[in-house]
């Protein structure tokens, strides 16, 4: 059978393309459309209701002169870096330990994954109580006889964000562990056997062979963690409500407060545009390396 002309590229896999239309539309309208609307209004003087009164970069100038915004950014950076590093580290360590064909693996896996079943609101409240000096850890240790023991991270300006970080890690590492465990189980047994025959120590096998092989799993995990970091809001609201003072504020809370409490949409939109920009700055180079660069290798 001879084909005279190539089928038009557009009509290949027609049914798949039709099926994708709703999602494409959703993405265009909801993500792109609404983002554009938000960015446009961040240049206006919108108060409680959106208006089109143009003020140029005023909202951004005000944003970057706000102490609260700067503290929010700093907190997000601290929370982001530590939660990225520690959840990967702890998650991988737990997964590697569980992978040693230990007994009661199911039980341990359930215990470690359980916190993930709780919402951030519950997590925040639980840790608010645990860290409360009146009836939490401090009280328990003092009751054991250490009268001067002080541990009240949520009431201390300097370290409050680490209290939040701790709760976040407690909640999130279980999931990371499961993803890592799935990745580890995907490694062929023969690789381990070959490494053992060659006399490569276990830690070296993990570091130089297994982890590079788990690259796709790491990327998925990274995306999940990063998305969680940028949108961290409910945990802070439940645990500290930004306090003491404004020491544990985060950008998402700034956006919410300005849009609804202060009834200043323009300022809230400017802040959310900055958040979007930050995500893009991280995302675009990564996407370029991941998807653009790959073609050359294959």
């Amino acid at each position: 059978m001879v084909q005279n002309q190539r089928p038009v590229q557009l009509f290949r896999n027609m049914s798949a393309k039709i099926a994708a239309i709703p999602m494409v539309l959703t993405a265009m309208v909801i993500f792109v459309g609404c983002s554009a609307w938000t960015i446009f209004h961040s240049f206006t003087k919108s108060k409680l209701l959106p208006t089109t009164k143009w003020v140029g970069l005023d909202q951004y100038e005000r944003l970057w002169s706000q102490n609260r915004w700067l503290i929010s950014i700093e907190n997000l950076a601290i929370y982001g870096i530590f939660s990225l590093v520690f959840s990967l580290l702890i998650g991988f360590m737990l997964a590697a330990l569980l992978d040693q064909k230990i007994r009661f693996e199911n039980t341990f896996r359930t215990i470690f994954l359980y916190p993930f079943a709780l919402s951030f609101i519950v997590t925040g409240l639980v840790w608010q109580w645990v860290l409360n000096p009146e009836f939490g850890i401090q009280k328990i240790v003092r009751d054991m006889g250490f009268e001067t023991f002080t541990f009240d991270p949520l009431y201390n300006q300097e370290i409050v964000i680490y209290g939040v970080l701790f709760a976040g890690l407690w909640q999130g590492t279980g999931l990371i562990m499961c993803l890592m465990l799935a990745g580890l189980r995907g490694i062929d047994e023969d690789i381990w056997k070959a490494a053992r025959v060659d006399g490569i120590p276990m830690w070296k096998t993990y570091l130089l062979i297994v982890i590079p092989m788990m690259r796709p799993v790491f990327i998925t995990t990274l995306v999940i963690i990063a998305a969680g970091i940028v949108k961290v809001y409910d945990l802070v609201v439940a645990q500290t409500n930004g306090g003491p003072g404004i020491a544990s504020e985060v950008p998402a809370k700034y956006v919410y407060d300005y849009m609804f409490r202060n009834q200043n949409l323009g300022q809230g939109f400017a802040a959310s545009t900055m958040m979007l920009l930050t995500v893009l700055v991280v995302l675009i180079p990564w996407a370029y390396l991941e998807f653009g660069g790959k073609k050359k290798h294959v």
Partner: protein
Amino acid sequence: MKLIKTLLASTAALAFSTSAFATDLEVTHWWTSGGEAAAVAEFAKAFNEGGDKWVDGAIAGSGGVARPIIISRIIGGDPMGATQLNHGRQAEELVEAGLMLDLTDIAEKEGWKDVVNPVRLLNACTLDGKVYCVPVNIHSPQWIWLSHAAYEKAGVPVPANWSEYVASAPKLREAGVVPLAMGQQSWQTQLAFDTLLVAVGGTELFTNILSNKDAAAAGSAEATKVFDAFATARELAQGANVQDWNQATNMVITGKAGGQIMGDWAQGEFQVANQVAGKDYTCLPGLGVNDIIATGGDAFYFPKTDDPEITAAQKRMASSMIRKDVQVAFNLKKGSLPIRGDVDLSAANDCMKKGLKILAAGNVLPDGVNVLSADTAGQIQDLMSEFFNNTNITVADAQSRYVDIIKNAD
């Protein structure tokens, strides 16, 4: 059989006739502490007596939590029947956008202009000559509440003004009592600052800064004194690790704290705890320095709908809230002052009488929420909360930032 039929028919007819008149109205508010809930039940009772049904939509938290929910529901096209808001500028834009029901006809019919006292409360509900809300009570934030039990424990007499109170603080500390109870929420620290502004700075400074937005006044030496006093309060509150205002009030009730700077709504809590003004606790309006109160308060707004039945019910609710007997019942439970000058409040306690006397003498100020936009008020809250919780911020630093906010206020 016939009997059953007639019965059914008559009950159906009855049900129909009442339902033509009875309408369910959802009412959102953030009155959730013990005293507040008891007070709001009085409104519900009065409204239900008319055959309608009050569907309670209390939102826990504080105004800061509830207001965004309320406003986004109105804007999002899912309006409730009625809602509490602090009158003034919070709802200004909603009214301008035509989202609120115009109550002018019943306001004129019932002569609200003549009964509401001070009339400024009604003016705060009025935009372009039309009335859009019902003021229901007068709240004044400028009070300090002192615990007799705590002072007994420390062995010092209960102070009569702010400076005596500050002087007594070390003795309270020695007795293991926190001198000042203060919740962590930012509106509470801001309230304390505004109160000190009236008490320490005086009326003129208060109106110059908040009403006239005079940045020079905010930077003046008198204002520095207020910030100094606020810094003192910051030290006195060390160790009061509570969040909500009623938890802080509870510290005063139980004698764990010497005092609390809080509005007169705190009184409802003392009442629920069966405490007697003058015997178990003392209240000092204007911190005992400056006998003056700002008259803020709560008001009810009625989002506009197309349904004439709902509109009629909304108007019935509005007029029930301002009725004499309802005003008395509500305000006695709430601890606030009624908005009518013509009601009998012989049942009022010691503290309320102090408030009424000041009100009658006309020593009143506009409240911060009436004159500042939500944006400016929010920024001041952030600053006060930051200052109050971070001892590294100096008075000079905080004041210069305060001046900046006032300068850019709208």
